[in-house]
Symmetry: C2
Subunit: 552 residues, 2 copies
């Protein structure tokens, strides 16, 4: 009889930050933890978003018992609308997370047939041989959960994204007692959040930002505009609390912010005293020092309310001297330029702007090194797999575990697609499954490949030159003079002479091979090489050159 | 008789960081301070670099007495190869700066006829009615200068880029005595570096990094690879000093790093004890704990030695377990992703990597708020113009000046192209001159305009679809079936049916207008609209659609 064997397969979340997805497989049962998306990197031109490759799961569809979601951020739920139709399995999540998933599924019209079940923190669901218990963790969204997964081989803890905030706002602190209780006999395997494993010390409490918000809302002479992530409900709560304290009214602006605020109010994750929240039609006539706006745009998103205000393009709010704007967030890597531009525009209109470099307006939601050590220490895992982060974060986290005494042979810094097999003899990476990026572009999921992207990249640099050559379908002879059309290469007016000269050049190349009906592929290559050389000499640019033959 | 009038015109360096250029005009004399370039931002597709628009100067060529350069960084000298041929005026700089300018001019073949004169710190040149005195300042490149500009209306101080490092490495501290002496009677106008005006406190000394480098080079078990900016000669000096102390030999890798090291050695700005610097052919057989490499790549530049090492693509250096890599720099905004990817690849190969987030491996070269206050206090300017920075930096700097007592009416936060006129009555912005970005793309300077860039942007998102329609030149009738070729839009194999369907669609559109020879522009618009709609419905993508008629 074969030994019991647990397979651990990350399908996302380890090679890049985002699109988190972890697969656990024991005998005939598979469970999936999280199903996130990633926003495209700079070189993924034209791509809307990136999701994990789930072909491993699709091929084993009958074994998949369910998808367990730790919390409602895009990088943990965003792939659901794309993969649920392929897998058709139930999804388990806490109450607010479930609400956010429903919104996503509706947006993408993937709601039909989807089953999303609510699990309360502290309770559990049985999925084949896995029993999954949810426990509360503190993170930058309410109702975040970690998972305790009971298996025939032992207990597994997955922290989800977390921090240890002893004074959280409107949520429960991470349940350390439950973890300590489990850890008293030691657990089999720990998955722990590595996003901030580079940072020494402790992550500050959400309360720190509350003090800043309180002071700003108390002292600002005019309107206060607070912008943050719509899912950062605790931040919105603190704005509402401070506004109530200083008799200001709060106007929630923008669709995604309004949607989340309403969902959070309905489900009881956000509380507003009567008369604090206001409708836009109540704005008129209200003194400026009685107004707080809450909106998105902290990442400089071009269509957000804040950016439209910064560009003097918002229908209702016009920035003026006396306004104070708080960017209660840090720019996600890659968004710095957009955020900086937004801050500059707001300053130009005379506003006071507070952002992470100049004021304590944000704390992040992930554990730093001392918190990670605490989790390692109280759970006492036999095996450790750092998750959520790029290779350097995982490496730092692995070193922390080693420094606390986990044997290095029991620590696995995995990459997406690695298959880690755990038996009573130990753990070993035994193979690799497909886990590359799946690109979503418009309606297309996975159809944009490296060739399409390479073409976009080439087109983006120096544009395109089309060469249209008419050929008599009877004689194979060239008819007339070749045509040349360019886009994104040079100004066609200014470079008219050069473009005309290149037509002549093509004509000569064709003439040369003209006596016998040359092979098109030969002619095409010749034309491409000749123009490549000519244009590079003239401009030091390398447009894509596309010769095309029309048979007439 | 008109009152004496000084014109201050920033042509670059105030709307974005980089491409610094300040123009001073008094009666018939113009001087220019710095002539820098800027690296393209993300949306400037295919652009190599960006320089200031100097048409204001070209139109007044006979008045321009010279260009005064504060230091040898690209954002202060990089535009010289492009503008000197247009202006043909002498350039004044300190010795090392002059050396770096010569290298730039030779690289771009702009050396012929260029006159670059050396000015020692402490001495002065007369340029029309301006007398320009250079004084030493501390910055992240040796031989950096500030300027004291004596004019008939009073003295002007321009700090250049600077910090106040009381223990600089291999350079002189900023000459505060000279400034204090001038300030005793108060100066007319101060231009001061705003790059880090957001940051409270003092910028740490270069010595801080020396301690880290010393420890790393002493304690690392194997080879140490230090990467930094090639112009950061003081950092290279500290690496050489530590290597000498621990009997390691230093190998300088990569062309730009070697060029600068040789220039700095030749001119006496870098000192190496005998036998420390080594040639690559001395590498073989040397124990790993006797080796230090110095190279570029701290910004993740794809062609740099470090990135090639990270990609296992360097001919001489193969990263292995035991190597320690120090990224002695912070990523310039926009380079974060490249740098992160490089760090990850190095970790994957088993190296230890030290970078700004996890170790004290870099200090920057610009003054923080307390240093800026000190300069304002000792120079006692009547008028203040913050320079070098984006709008938010200038705003913070202006507020500092206001908090120290400069009347707000005498502080001018300018934008590129603003004309500030100063008379005995006060200062006033009286107009605006051309000062937009001039794009350099290959050999083209200024020919790439917003249309070319817009096309590149469109092409980069969803690619292009060309529609070739053959028309009988006699009858005006369409010949054969229209052809469709796409690049960067969809996989042509996978979407063959859709592309064929779109050919049919075009054929129908042409048929419809076929009875009478329709106007091409009308047909073209019709084809474009039809395909736009069809492709968007099918794919939610919007490729550029380019109908083209071949007359046969």
């Amino acid at each position: 009889m074969p030994k019991p064997r647990l397979k651990v397969i990350p399908l996302g979340g380890l090679s890049e930050i985002g699109k988190n997805m972890m697969v656990l497989e024991f005998e005939d049962d598979i469970i999936v933890i999280d199903a996130g998306l990633m926003f495209p990197e700079e070189e993924m031109l034209g791509i809307d978003l990136v999701i994990p490759d789930v072909s491993y799961l699709v091929e084993r569809k009958e074994k998949v018992r369910g998808i367990v979601i730790t919390h409602g951020h895009e990088d943990h739920i965003g792939a659901l609308p794309y993969i649920l139709p392929q897998l058709n399995v139930p999804v388990y999540a806490t109450k607010l997370t479930r609400g956010l998933i429903s919104v996503k599924l509706k947006e993408r019209k993937a709601h039909d047939g989807a089953v999303v079940k609510t699990v309360s923190p502290g309770s559990a669901v049985t999925l084949g041989k896995f029993r999954v218990e949810f426990f509360p963790v503190c993170h930058s969204i309410p109702d975040a959960a970690g998972l305790i997964i009971h298996t025939p081989m032992g207990d597994i803890v997955h922290t989800g994204d977390f921090k240890l905030d002893h004074t959280p706002v409107g949520g429960r602190p991470t349940d350390l007692s439950r973890l300590a209780q489990l850890g008293s006999k030691g657990i089999l395997l720990l998955f722990s959040d590595s996003t901030y494993a580079e940072l020494p010390g402790y992550t500050p409490s959400e309360k720190v930002v509350g003090d800043t918000l309180d002071r700003v809302i108390a002292e600002s002479p005019g309107r206060v505009i607070v912008t943050t992530f719509s899912s950062l409900v605790s931040r919105i709560q603190q704005v509402i609390d401070a506004a109530a304290k200083y008799q200001r009214r709060v106007f929630v602006i923008g669709r995604s912010m309004s949607d989340t605020v309403h969902l959070a109010l309905d489900l009881g994750y956000l509380k507003a005293p009567d008369g604090v929240l206001a409708r836009m039609d109540e704005l008129k006539g209200l003194p400026h020092n009685k107004i707080v706006f809450v909106t998105t745009g902290s990442q400089g998103e071009p269509t957000s309310a804040l950016v439209r205000m910064a560009n003097r393009d918002h229908p209702q709010v016009h920035i003026q001297r006396g306004d104070t704007i708080v960017l209660s967030a840090t720019p996600i890597p890659g968004n710095e330029a957009l955020v900086n531009r937004t801050v500059d525009s707001l300053f130009k209109q005379g506003a006071q702007v507070l952002y992470n470099k100049v004021a304590d307006v944000h704390v992040h939601g992930h554990a730093s090194q001392e918190e990670l050590k605490l989790i390692l220490n109280i759970t006492k895992p036999k095996f450790f797999v750092p998750v959520h982060g790029e290779f350097r974060h995982l490496t730092f986290h692995a070193r922390l575990a080693e420094s606390l005494g986990t044997p290095s042979g029991n620590i696995f810094v995995l990459e997406d697609g690695d298959v880690l097999e755990i038996t009573e003899d130990g753990g070993k990476v035994t193979g690799k499954v497909a886990a590359s990026n799946v690109y979503v572009d418009g309606l297309g999921v996975g159809d944009v490949d490296s060739i399409v992207l390479r073409d976009r990249r080439m087109l983006s640099k120096d544009g395109i030159v089309m060469v249209v050559i008419a050929v008599d379908s009877q004689t194979g002879k060239v008819v007339g003079r070749p045509d040349i059309i360019s886009r994104g290469f040079v100004d066609p007016e200014e470079f008219r002479d050069m473009l005309e000269a290149s037509r002549d050049l093509v004509a000569r190349v064709l003439d040369h091979g003209g006596a016998r009906p040359a092979e098109w592929s030969f002619v095409s290559t010749k034309v491409r090489d000749t123009l490549n050389k000519f244009y590079y000499e003239q401009t030091r640019r390398r447009p894509m050159i596309l010769p095309f033959m029309v048979k007439v």
